[in-house]
């Protein structure tokens, strides 16, 4: 199982076609239980890196590989994005259940195992109180927690989060950060988080991947300060 949570970027180049290479010669490894912040100024390629890892856009060079090449990308990696999606008529439980979609039959029927897993995520993320609430009635913080619960229900060893706390207030941000730290440490997930929050990187992350001058390098997050990118 240890291998499954390993993400290997070897000699990778990312971007949109050969004219717009955002970063190249990327050689990085993410391992089980690591919480890694991905930092860089706007437009340097954080989101493109995620899209490449999720194989939504092709690698311009090199490769993205995981410990288990037999599993499909969505069986290994789940994702949470910045923007809130507006969905009428979905309860919290129904949305979290969507995370089971890769595992269910053609009609999306939930097995008792699926239902138990969904219930576990609801309890783990302290969502029991709002389990039957409508998605559109949630606060932004609650919504992101639900999306994280959905990603957890997908049962992937690796999680990608693209600025998950960008729209959240200080309190909700800390809740999400603590949760991610807990998931990496206790649930042995490999978690990549793109962020502009230096404090988060310093306080919670073991590693920082910094995008600068078309390169992505690994750094000790403690050494990154607010003025780092000046």
């Amino acid at each position: 199982m240890e291998q499954q949570s390993t993400l290997i970027l070897s000699n990778l180049a990312i971007g949109y076609g050969s004219d717009t290479i955002l970063a190249k010669e990327i050689n990085l490894i993410a391992q089980e239980g690591e919480l890694i912040s991905i930092m860089g100024l706007n437009g340097t390629g954080k989101t493109s890196l995620f899209k490449t890892i999720l194989s939504q856009i092709p690698c311009l060079a090199g490769s993205v590989s995981t410990g288990n090449s037999e599993l499909k990308r969505h069986e290994l990696i789940s994702a949470v994005f910045t923007e809130r999606v507006s969905i009428f008529g979905f309860t919290v439980t129904e949305l979290i259940a969507q995370g089971r979609a890769p595992h269910t039959n053609i009609f999306g029927k939930l097995s008792s195992h699926d239902k138990r897993l969904i219930q576990e995520q609801i309890e783990a993320l302290d969502l029991s109180q709002i389990a039957d609430s409508q998605i559109n009635s949630l606060s932004d913080g609650q919504f992101q927690k639900v999306m994280i619960a959905r990603a957890l229900a997908q049962e992937t060893p690796i999680m990608l989060l693209d600025e998950p706390a960008a729209f959240l207030d200080v309190k909700n941000r800390r809740i999400i950060y603590k949760l991610l730290s807990y998931l990496a440490k206790e649930k042995k997930k490999t978690i990549l988080v793109s962020t502009h929050d230096v404090g988060f990187a310093q306080e919670y992350c073991q590693k920082a991947w910094v995008i600068q001058n078309q390169k992505i390098g690994e750094m000790d997050p403690k050494k990154i300060s607010e003025s780092f990118f000046d």
């Binding site: 069986e75 994702a79 994005f81 999606v85 008529g89 979905f90 129904e94 969507q98 979609a101 009609f107």
Partner: protein, 321 residues
């Protein structure tokens, strides 16, 4: 299991409307299946109203989900106009005088399907570059106008007999003087498409969360969209060829269904949309031939009369003002 009860309730209402549809009309007849008026005219007519009402409604639902836009629908995004163009092309370009022969009727349906799919494809192509749903609606409206102008040019050059049959067709009606054998081909195809929609419920649910999330859960978004477009094209094309361009039912019914059950999961929304669509189709048809009226009101006028206020209500409810 409130929802199952609601489903049973509305199904009973549908059966009641079906009976009402058989009895009511310009002539009130007793409920008697041996009555020629009933089995020659009223049964085909009410069945057409049910199939086409349900079909156009579920087409609207598919479109609202794949476009992630509450205002998407066959008539709003110009899909019906696409079918109209197909039919106009069939009637005028091929100078077919009568549209009641099997071959020509089926040819017209095929043209209507092609027209519907061409416009759907175009709109879908545009939607990839358009972030705001309002922009997409404007593009759809313009496509509708553009296509209508081509239809008008056809009409201008077409001969009088064709023009008359085309205008009459455009008013819309569930009353078709076609043999039941041919009608049942329509019913069968529409029924097959409806069943196919049930098999899409999981991908459609995933698409409600947006393309980005759907992809991370392993959904082949492009394939799903293509299938959905194919189904929408067949539904809208067939129904438009048969009954004329039906305005507003496609956009309004999915909202009525969702608000009725307070759910968006397709497992429930699909059956409710079908049944509510069938009910509304029947209601519109019954109004169109209210007892006491000599002829029939144009179906299109009735569906717009009922559908347009519902759409305005949706806009206000979703705070889109």
């Amino acid at each position: 299991m409130m929802l199952s009860k609601k489903l049973i309730g509305i199904s009973i209402f549908l059966i009641f409307l079906f009976g009402l549809g058989l009895v009511l009309g310009s002539v009130m007849v007793p409920f008697d299946f041996s009555n020629e008026l009933i089995y020659r005219l009223r049964i085909p007519r009410t069945l057409t109203a049910i199939m086409c009402g349900a079909g156009i409604a579920v087409a609207g639902l598919l479109m609202q989900t794949i476009f992630r836009n509450p205002l998407a629908g066959p008539s709003v995004l110009g899909i019906s106009s696409g079918s109209t163009l197909g039919v106009a092309f069939g009637i005028f370009a091929y100078q077919s005088v009568s549209i009641s022969f099997l071959n020509e009727k089926l040819t017209l349906s095929f043209m209507a399907i092609l027209g519907a799919m061409a416009v759907t494809l175009f709109i879908l192509g545009v939607s990839r570059f358009v972030k705001k749903s309002n922009t997409l609606l404007i593009v759809g409206l313009m496509v509708g106008y553009f296509v209508s102008s081509i239809v008008n040019i056809f009409s201008f050059y077409g001969d009088k007999t064709n023009l008359q049959s085309f205008v009459y067709w455009g008013l819309g009606s569930f009353n078709k003087e076609i043999e039941f054998d041919i009608l049942s081909i329509y019913y069968l195809v529409i029924l097959i498409v409806m069943i196919a929609v049930f098999f899409l419920q999981k991908p459609l649910d995933m698409l409600l969360m947006g393309e980005k999330y759907a992809r991370t859960m392993g959904l082949n978004v492009t394939k799903t969209r293509w299938i959905a477009i194919l189904l929408v094209g067949v539904l809208v094309g067939l129904i438009t060829a048969l009954c004329g361009p039906i305005a507003f039912l496609g956009i309004a019914v999915p909202h009525l269904a969702r608000n009725f059950i307070k759910k968006s999961t397709h497992r429930w929304v699909i059956p409710f949309t079908l049944i509510v669509g069938a009910c509304l189709g029947l209601i519109c048809d019954i109004i169109a031939r209210l007892p006491g009226l000599e002829g029939n009101l144009p179906l299109n006028a009735v569906t717009s009369f009922i559908g347009a206020p519902i759409v305005v209500w949706i806009v206000f409810k979703n705070k889109m003002v």
